[in-house]
Amino acid sequence: MSRPESAAELSALYQDLILDHYRRPRNKGALENADTRVEMKNPLCGDEIALQVAFDGNTVSDLRFSGRGCSISQASASMMTQLVKGKEAEEIKAIGRRFRDLMLGDASAAGEKELGQLRALSGVARFPARVKCALLAWNALETALAERST
């Protein structure tokens, strides 16, 4: 049996940047004056996230997350909040789509600047069981955007 993972792939997955976000998450905590609050759970592993978003028109003016989970889910949430703050809903959705592509192994996405630090998560694609972890925060954000637009 061949296992996809190797020592190199593991190191690529657990880069310093990811561990740094895991241990010092940005934008973690409660957001006062949030317009929307979304909770998500991953029933498999027990990871959970609560995302609070404040809007200014169609722009995400601020957002914070709380919850607990593995390094991938926490780093992904932390990086995401940094990246999308101040951006418009449509732009955020486009970034989200590309991030999904990245997680599904689309190598071209790994080169895209607009993904910012999220590109550090490209190693997750090699670990199918972990893709859900990386997407948890994005699922929550997309739900928040969808609720906003209806």
Partner: protein, 420 residues
């Protein structure tokens, strides 16, 4: 990065038995360290052969045909029942009902016995150690019947608090549901003592989830004293899709059927139906004879080893694992001391999330489970969202433990902990 595996290994003192060679999946992948048998076991070739042999020589719908092939299928199915009943210490063979597994067996009891006997104001006791399969069906029954669900709490080291249990029992208690062995912590519960407590303090029936005891301990239903016992074939070297419920004849005969349809009826009128005798009454539809035959072969394999030896093999692996893991800084083991556990060790390490640990171990061929182990009520009480769990079985050996420890050290390194 993989731990080396010696050519020859021992099965608890038995000379030079390479168990692993009996298991094709493991034999084909020497670098694989399968430490998730509490979730499901690997299968020896003899089990796979038995299933195939059934389909190639005896396949027909049991019970329904007057021709020789169907008679043979019926006999294969019945012999499997006899063999498995003997293995689990059930003298009255008709009292072993085949189900898909433990989950279905427990749902059968909660629905058939439970709906008939539990009503408004009654009480149902479950424990904080339960797998969701022995928790949620009782919780839902309680909601439906407006009965009260009461949860037996644990001692600080993850054993059932029997004083708490005593305090919960009274004349309104209808059911006490508990596992024989916890899948999450490995805790072996004192069934005889629990049954005694129940008898002294209530008229409740006892429902024992044996998913983790049938594979790992010598079990005799007739001496355990519980009213119901449930088990899964896939956790005891058998195939998926088969397991069973054992009950007492008088109780089973008095119960209404669970699923209805072919084979379980006697006479079907337009208005009313009468039921077939045990075990058929509870086996609606075409039985899964092939997988019953597979499970029978699994039980033969375990009998040849001897369940006492299976237990002591796991004990010795467990005590070694315990010693090695305790040496690791920041590693915390949950549950009772190793001697009170079957071959399961549940742990966390520093701030390395169990999920990350499992991924890093997987990169080195070590399969462990990370998560809530279908025991969210327990996780809440341990106040952890998840643990990592390694579990052992007949095919594991010291090389697997070495690989586990090496893998954990690698995780420490990746997460920046200095070597200990």
């Amino acid at each position: 990065m993989r731990a080396s595996r010696s050519e020859v290994r021992t099965f608890n003192g038995a000379r030079d038995v390479n168990r692993r060679a009996d298991f094709p999946l493991l034999a084909n992948d020497p670098g694989l360290h399968y430490l998730d048998s509490a979730a499901t076991s690997q299968k020896p070739a003899s089990v796979l052969d038995a299933i195939r042999d059934f389909y190639e020589t005896s396949n027909a719908n049991p019970h329904r045909g007057a021709y020789a092939l169907s008679v043979r299928a019926t006999e294969c199915y019945q012999q499997a029942r006899q063999r498995i009943a003997r293995f689990l210490g059930v003298r009255d063979v008709d009292c072993l009902i085949f189900t898909r597994g433990t989950t279905e067996a427990l749902n059968l009891v909660a629905n058939s016995w439970g709906r008939a006997h539990v009503s408004h104001g009654d009480e149902i006791v479950v424990t904080a150690l339960e797998h969701h399969a022995n928790f949620v069906p009782w919780q839902q029954l309680a909601i439906e019947k407006q009965a009260r669900l009461r949860v037996c709490e644990l001692s600080s080291d993850g054993r059932l608090d029997l004083d708490c249990l005593r305090g919960l029992l009274n004349s309104r208690t209808r059911v006490v549901a508990f596992n024989h062995v916890s899948n999450a912590l490995g805790t072996i519960n004192p069934v005889a003592e629990i049954v005694e407590l129940i008898r002294e303090n209530s008229d409740a029936i006892s429902v024992c989830d044996g998913a983790q005891s049938a594979p790992h301990l010598p079990v005799s239903f007739d001496t355990l004293g519980v009213d119901f016992y449930a088990f899964s074939g896939h956790k005891m070297l058998g195939p998926m899709g088969i397991g069973g419920l054992i009950g007492k004849r008088a109780t089973l005969e008095a119960m209404p059927p669970y699923q209805t349809g072919g084979d379980m009826i006697e006479f079907v009128g337009d208005e009313r139906t009468t039921w077939n005798v045990l075990p058929h009454k509870f086996e609606a539809g075409t039985p899964n004879a092939a997988d019953a035959v597979g499970l029978s072969a699994a039980v033969e394999y375990l009998e040849a080893l001897g369940m006492d030896r299976v237990l002591s093999h796991e004990r010795s692996l467990m005590s070694r694992a315990q010693t090695r893991l305790e040496e690791i800084e920041g590693l915390r083991i949950y549950g009772p001391p190793a001697l009170g556990r079957s071959g399961v060790v549940s742990f966390t390490m520093n701030d390395v999330h169990p999920h990350d640990l499992a991924t890093i171990l997987d990169g080195q061929g070590v399969c462990i489970r990370a998560g809530h182990h279908c025991a969210q009520p327990l996780m809440r009480r341990l106040d952890v969202p998840a643990t990592a769990r390694a579990s052992f079985y007949v095919y594991n050996d010291e090389a697997d433990i070495d690989a586990l420890v090496t893998g954990i050290m690698k995780a420490r390194e990746i997460f920046g902990y200095v070597p200990t």
